[in-house]
């Protein structure tokens, strides 16, 4: 079942994003930012946890998952170290995607030439 839900959840999210792109003047940058913030908001209400339980990879591969990871990292930081933990904990989980992109993008940029 998790495979079907992974397909449906990821597909629906992309579909909503496409509808926004087609019918408003918002750019892809707006839409990805919007969905990241949406992920943090869904995490706040405890909905994103359930979404990941149901859809697994379908929910974790969407950019909203980044907002969710930032939120949960900050919250766990707070529970462990108090106010300071919000600052130090915020990127503990979401940092993976940032560091991954930095490392791989730099390697690729140094190896390959841009196609014109």
């Amino acid at each position: 079942m998790i495979f079907i839900w992974a397909f449906i959840v990821a597909g629906l999210m992309c579909m909503i994003a496409q509808i926004i792109l087609d019918n408003t003047k918002l750019t892809p940058g707006h839409v990805t930012t919007l969905f990241t913030v949406l992920g943090a908001i869904l995490a706040f209400f405890g909905i994103y946890d359930k979404l990941i339980d149901i859809a697994g990879g379908g929910a974790t591969t969407i950019i909203s998952n980044f907002g969710y990871l930032l939120y949960t990292g900050a919250l766990e930081g707070y529970r462990e170290f108090g106010i300071l933990g919000i600052f130090s904990g915020l990127l503990t989980k979401g940092g993976l995607a940032i560091v991954g992109s930095v490392v791989f993008a730099t390697i690729m940029a140094l190896i390959f030439k841009p196609k014109d």
Binding site: C14, L21, P28, G57, G58, T61, A105, F112
Partner: protein
């Protein structure tokens, strides 16, 4: 030619995009990525006997690696413009924006080009992601989380 005629002419020559087709395509592409990612997670969990969180983290890195590689090889831009939101919303979109700006600005130097423009497109995701998560956690703390 007055303004009205001009507007009509512009409208006539505007590329017509089939919205329904775009929407269905985005659903299928996005869904397929979700499906494949779940598949990779399951395979990693079974082969290396690791937990789901660890497996999804590795899968996230694999997806970023593939998207960066395909961007560098040059054909991911075409895919992005065809699949639109289907590739934009998954982690592939984030990785693509970072690696394409890294590639494009490399020629302007490692500091003023690559370094300064690295997060040109992904910067807003990181900035507003951090801000919204920060504010929401503060709210959560205040209302007693």
């Amino acid at each position: 030619m007055n303004k009205e005629e001009y507007q009509k002419l512009v409208k006539k020559h505007e590329p017509k995009e089939n919205k329904l087709e775009n929407t269905i395509f985005a659903f299928l592409v996005g869904g397929t990525i979700g499906f494949l990612v779940e598949g990779v997670i399951q395979v990693l969990m079974n082969i290396f006997e690791i937990g789901r969180i660890e497996a999804s983290s590795w899968t996230c890195l694999i997806v970023i690696f593939i998207a960066s590689l395909f961007t560098a090889l040059g054909f991911f831009d075409d895919w992005m413009s065809k699949a639109k939101a289907g590739l934009l919303l998954p982690t592939t979109g984030f990785a693509h924006s970072v690696s394409s700006s890294a590639l494009d600005y490399k020629r302007e130097g490692l500091i003023t080009g690559l370094g300064s423009n690295f997060f040109k497109l992904a910067g807003s995701v990181i900035l507003y992601g951090i801000l919204s998560a920060f504010i929401l956690v503060i709210v959560k703390v205040i209302i007693g989380g």
